[in-house]
Amino acid sequence: MRLALLILLLALPLAGALAAPDGARLFREHCSACHGFDGQGGMGLPLSLPDFLAVADDAYLTRTIRHGRPGRLMPAFRELGDSQVQAIVGFIRGLQPGIPAPPSNDEPVAGDARRGADLYRKHCQRCHGADGWGGRGTGVTFSRPRDFPVMPPALNNPGFQAAASDRFIRRTLLHGRRGTPMPSFRERGLSEQDVDDIVRYVRQLGRAPGSWRPPAEQPPVLMFDSPYSLAQTVANIKRAVVGNNFRTVRVQPLETGLRPPGEESPGQYVIFFCNFEFANRALGLDPRVGLFLPCQITVLKTADGGVKVMSMNPKFMSRIYNNRELDEACDEMHDLYLSIMEEATL
């Protein structure tokens, strides 16, 4: 009896686990921030467009979720189980229930890549870039207006190359994608052979060297010892901030707002500073970079009477954004922080 009861109790959560994952819930949790609740797009591409779902087979969607787009925001969802990915694909497919999924087919198409290169330069390069790097920046509002629904995808991205079959690229070129700047090449008068030649060239773009790699592991904090008093160190930082073309926004005890005025710890100060041109540029590259804003350097008096100057390490933080262009800005910020803190503690 006791055993039966125990098995029954253990089986209750099992029943939930064995039930089919809820694709709508998973999409809302993992995808909606970028792609919108109904797949209408935002920072991420719109997924509900009829022309997209007419050409995107389930293998393309599955591989995209699994591999992501290294360096282009879309993360790889390796922690999701197969049934969960399948449920998300099912939800995406259901955004346009009247449109059947095209068959998944990894058979390559035959074409002439050299001829395809000429056609690519003429028809694709303006949006997708000479090397297939795609459009710059992301994020509705900051780097593009709301009536421009997509950034042209990076065709040389290893995630795209792994996810897209030749047939998928071919279908996309022939159909185009209404609601985006991507035209139908069939309607533009290109032949099926022309399209196959472009497909072969797009495949070559994926083999070009120089693909993005996540930044190397970095320590979370940049830290210096200051030989000066806390007040002098704060003054030095304010001067160095200005010397580096930034402006001090405010200086305040670290506990400001957490404790009543006057009760904050006297040995902890934060110097907030900004260069709005730089901030605007960073937001254009990735609107999620608020975690860096405004720039801040903390000055602490330690128990042994020493003074430490520290900041978050932008190179440490940049890894989480999966954004190649932002990495460059984070390198710049890293050097800036070092420059200011070195100058202030010399």
């Binding site: 055993l3 099992l14 921030a33 969960q84 979370p220 506990e255 400001t256 900004c274 901030a279 937001l283």
Partner: protein, 154 residues
């Protein structure tokens, strides 16, 4: 074979069927189905309900606008627990650049997006301090709970 001898096997099958847990990304994100002003109020309420105190709101959009840049609503909410911040900084001063905690929120048409980072990324600042690691995990759970509430419009 008695019932109790078969129990480990049954348990193994049950646990295996539960599958792997879903792990959060280092960058936590959520879309709130509300316009910015409402989402801002909801966020501050959710932060307070989780036992934190909002210490400051940085109006990034105002600063950008004054400098001539066009932008939609963009704010950063700083928050924390006063005693916890003081106590942790005494033990681990290197945590200071990441305190108070912050959540970024910005408008995207009729929705509002929220982002923050997973605090357990900072485990390496004191990997031997079990209590510190537990605090980071609690923060992460609270952030995920706040984001869940914001996403579901609770």
């Amino acid at each position: 074979m008695s019932h109790w001898q078969t129990l480990p096997f049954v348990l193994f099958l049950l646990l295996a069927a539960l599958g792997r847990p879903v792990l959060a990304d280092d960058l936590l994100m959520a879309r709130a189905p509300h316009p910015f002003p409402e989402a801002m109020l909801d966020l501050q309420t959710a932060i307070a309900e989780h036992g934190y105190h909002v210490s400051h709101v940085q109006r990034v959009d105002v600063g950008l606008g004054r400098s001539g840049f066009k932008t939609d609503k963009y704010r950063i909410v700083f928050f924390g627990k006063a005693d916890e911040v003081r106590e942790l900084l005494q033990r681990h001063p290197a945590l200071a650049p990441y305190l108070p905690l912050k959540i970024t929120l910005f408008a995207e048409a009729d929705d509002t997006l929220l982002t923050t980072f997973d605090p357990t990324m900072l485990t390496r600042l004191a990997p031997q301090d079990a209590d510190f690691i537990l605090r980071l995990k609690r923060w992460k759970n609270d952030l995920r709970s706040i984001f869940h509430e914001m996403r579901e419009g609770d």
